[in-house]
């Protein structure tokens, strides 16, 4: 793979129309990529093309437009599947990571029995906690958690896995602490204990090469909009033999082969899990996003993210009265840094940064229990993508001094 230089990365900014916007008469500095990334014109054009040239419903259409839409839709399926090295039968389109995890929880938990355990970590996003938690309550299952230390690293040596553990579900990268978890190792532990292994890849798939065969995970969930694609579409990967045994999550059109008044034969994979007219435009946009990422190369994106994170850790550490959460080493993190200015609420910090055109996120980042564990009400989070530059991070650091000035 060719290594892309920093100047070439910066050139890519031209593909993103929004990045030339001005906010409060300042240059937009977009550092909220863990929430959602910006979209290149290639993705926007692919969606517009569908609506202007071949908008039609997919599957079973016998006219030209439907044929074209079906080809493009299935092509998108294949592209996304290939992106994580899965077979296209094993890749289900969903609304996003949240729906992928709900699909799993609903589909898997009905087969568990009272007293069975689900193992999560103390750093999960609400989307990888609440579905399991609520169904566990209903089916009288127990939730257990792998603990984190003060730097946001999992304590794997002391994990509560046992022969009652049926499912282990873990974030690959924490959206608040930034920690990259050793999912391969956790997967081995899960499988040694005959538990299914689920990976929440919302924050990892956009930022590093992720290969489901190499990870040997049973399921992987991720979202398009965090990797240049549109909102409202994401994916769930599952091993074929597992998906075949599982119950559908939604019932209706497109997920069937044959319907009688009193019984239904379900469609083949992956359609069995995609009831109703799918998000066709979203899928096509997702496919275009994957094309764009492949063109840059995920290894390049990962390396560039690490460079930016190293730079951010260094620059933010120089800001007085600022504390950073999560792993101390940049190479144990995804490209994001959560921090607080001492005695200034993250909401105030975030608001004041907005005056300078800087878009960051302030709040609990959908990780309330983790916040509580660390005795925080929230944090400000700067998160990066390949179109960000070291200059933008320098600007963030110098602007934080101005924020402190307001509270003097």
């Amino acid at each position: 793979m060719v290594t892309i230089t920093e100047s070439k990365m910066e050139k890519l900014r031209e593909d993103f129309p929004i990045l030339s916007r001005r906010i409060h008469d300042k240059k937009l500095v977009y550092l909220d990529n863990s929430a959602t990334t910006q979209k290149p014109k290639q993705v926007i054009d692919a969606i517009t093309d569908y609506y202007t040239k071949y908008n039609s419903n997919v599957h079973r259409g016998l006219h030209k437009l439907s044929e074209e839409a079906t080809v493009k839709f299935e092509e998108a399926h294949n592209k996304v599947a290939k992106f994580i090295n899965s077979d296209s039968q094993e890749l289900i389109f969903t609304k996003g990571t949240t729906e992928s995890l709900n699909l799993l929880a609903y589909s898997l938990l009905t087969d568990l029995k009272k007293g069975d355990e689900i193992l999560l970590t103390q750093m999960e996003h609400h989307s990888n906690l609440v579905p399991w938690q609520q169904l566990a309550k209903r089916f009288e299952l127990n939730l257990k958690f792998i603990e984190i230390d003060k730097d946001g690293i999992l304590n794997l040596e002391n994990n509560p896995i046992n022969n009652k553990t049926k499912i282990v579900s873990v974030a690959h990268t924490s959206n608040f602490l930034g920690t990259i978890n050793p999912v391969k190792e956790i997967g081995k532990i899960a499988h040694e204990n005959n538990a299914l292994f689920v990976v929440d890849g919302a924050q990892s798939v956009p930022h590093m090469p992720v290969d489901v065969k190499d990870l040997d995970c049973d399921f992987l969930a991720f979202s398009a909009h965090k990797m240049l694609g549109p909102t409202g579409i994401g994916a769930l990967y599952g091993k074929k033999e597992l998906l075949e045994k599982m119950h559908p999550f939604n019932y209706g059109g497109d997920m069937i082969l044959e319907v009688k008044f009193d019984d239904t034969k379900f469609n083949n994979l992956p359609w069995k899990f995609e009831a109703g007219t799918p998000n066709i435009a979203g899928a096509i946009g997702f496919g275009a996003a994957v094309d764009y990422l492949n063109k840059i190369g995920m290894e390049n994106i990962k390396n560039h993210g690490l460079e930016l994170t190293k730079h951010a850790m260094r620059r933010l550490n120089e800001v007085k009265n600022l504390e950073i959460y999560g792993p101390l080493r940049a190479d144990r993190r995804g490209p994001l840094v959560s921090f607080n200015l001492i005695n200034i609420h993250p909401h105030d910090t975030t608001s004041l940064l907005d005056d300078y055109g800087i878009a960051v996120r302030g709040g609990h980042h959908c990780a309330m229990p983790t916040m509580k564990l660390m005795n925080l009400v929230g944090s400000t989070r700067a998160s990066f993508y390949f179109y960000n530059t070291k200059e933008e991070i320098d600007y963030l650091a110098s602007t934080l001094d101005k924020v402190k000035g307001v509270f003097k």
């Binding site: 409060h24 909401h347 105030d348 005056d355 709040g363 009400v377």
Partner: protein, 134 residues
């Protein structure tokens, strides 16, 4: 001109109230108390009210929040002393903006109203007889 529109919210009296809030602390023998949590940013305010003849005799709040929510809670608690519960119930978000002396956009409405929401919830529960003397 939109320049520094957020910074304009951080007026001196708001920053002063953030650093030295009014009526901050625990009230012994409160007749009711209610907590409000603003999940969008983590503001947390608990208001405790002591009544005398259906009027607010004393009020305190505890919690953690942004400058706007802490200043708002300070000014609200100060404002309601001696008032009838029914009058307090009629306070609106516009009243809060007037009380605090700033206009806030949709992103900060929950900050400025967090204390009011907890107060109104507390009054409702109290009047319904659910909230027993602590």
């Amino acid at each position: 001109m939109n320049e520094f529109m957020n910074q304009k919210m951080y007026m001196e009296h708001i920053l002063d109230l953030y650093k030295n809030p009014l009526n901050f602390g625990i009230l012994d023998n409160a007749d009711f108390k209610e907590r409000c949590f603003n999940p969008s940013c983590g503001d947390e305010v608990e208001i405790q009210v002591k009544l005398k003849d259906d009027k607010v005799d004393d009020v305190k709040f505890i919690g953690r929040g942004c400058a706007i929510s802490v200043a708002a809670a300070s000014l609200l608690t100060e404002n309601i002393k001696g008032k009838l519960l029914n009058d307090i119930n009629n306070l609106t978000r516009e009243d809060m903006m007037e009380l605090v002396g700033i206009e806030v956009g949709p992103a900060r409405v929950k900050c400025i109203t967090c204390s009011l929401v907890s107060l109104r919830d507390g009054i409702r529960s109290y009047l319904e007889g659910k909230n027993v003397r602590s």
